[in-house]
């Protein structure tokens, strides 16, 4: 097994996540794409932790921190989506132009 395989896999997952983040119209799907992005970053951290720093596993510590932040982000993000849905009666990202103009 090589480090490059894991890095390539994480890069592919990151690009899929960015595609979903930009093209999704449902706000909840945007949150799911964000989770994909965070998981790609985690996979990178874990791969480097295993291949470059196997003795003192600092990459795993950072991964645990990222997982914590991701859980908090999902909770707040879903609360914001619920609040917007209650006010605007839709979850279409194209209609959220409160701050656009």
């Amino acid at each position: 097994m090589q480090l490059e395989y894991f890095l390539l896999l994480a890069a592919a997952l990151f690009c899929i996540g960015i595609y979903g983040l930009v093209t999704s119209r449902n706000a909840i799907r945007v949150l799911m794409s964000l989770e994909l992005l965070l998981n790609a970053v985690n996979l990178n951290l874990m791969a480097f932790s295993n291949y470059s720093d196997p003795a003192q596993v600092k990459g795993q510590v950072f991964t645990v921190f990222v997982i914590t932040i991701a859980a908090a982000e999902a909770a707040v993000g879903l609360a914001i989506v619920l609040s917007i849905y209650r006010n605007r009666d839709t979850v279409d990202m194209q209609e959220f132009n409160l701050l656009k103009w």
Partner: protein, 198 residues
Amino acid sequence: MNLAEGVQIVSFGILAFMMLASAIGVVLLNNIVYSAFLLGVVFVSISGLYILLNAAFVAAAQILIYVGAVNVLILFGIMLVNKRRDFARIPNAWLNQGVTALVCGGLFALLSSMIIATPWSISTAPIAGDAALVEIGKHFFTDFLLPFELASVLLLMALIGAIVIARREFFPEEGEDLSAESNLTLPERPRELTGGRR
């Protein structure tokens, strides 16, 4: 991991295929409920990849937090928000998607050429394996103590913030009497309890 090289390669291939296929499904499927379940498949396969990377503790944390908490939270969000109505069509949506796909493909090409061209320094130190759990604990309580405590404060903030944001806001009128309410309850807009159908 005490697995033979061939077994590792095969399981990596299976997990990578599962992860990429379900990630594409998450992004492209029309039904968002299917997307949420496929997101769970993505999380489980990433946890399998963590086990291949000698990190059993983080794999367990991934399953517990992502599949157990985040995915269930997203499913609940879908149930609260999902309304079976198509979005208004916007003109030239295919152009938007095509340009985005082009940019993402370019980004992937750039990243993969960088990954392949860079000479990574592979350490030859012995792998911690299951002793990584002890190492993580030591890191948490020595050199990463401040971020660890800050993370707990951040979780508390997110907890309270999510409740405050998702609550139905209510501003009492001028002459309205709120003295009947206890001091321990938050003022909330009254809601109908049954018949969520609109």
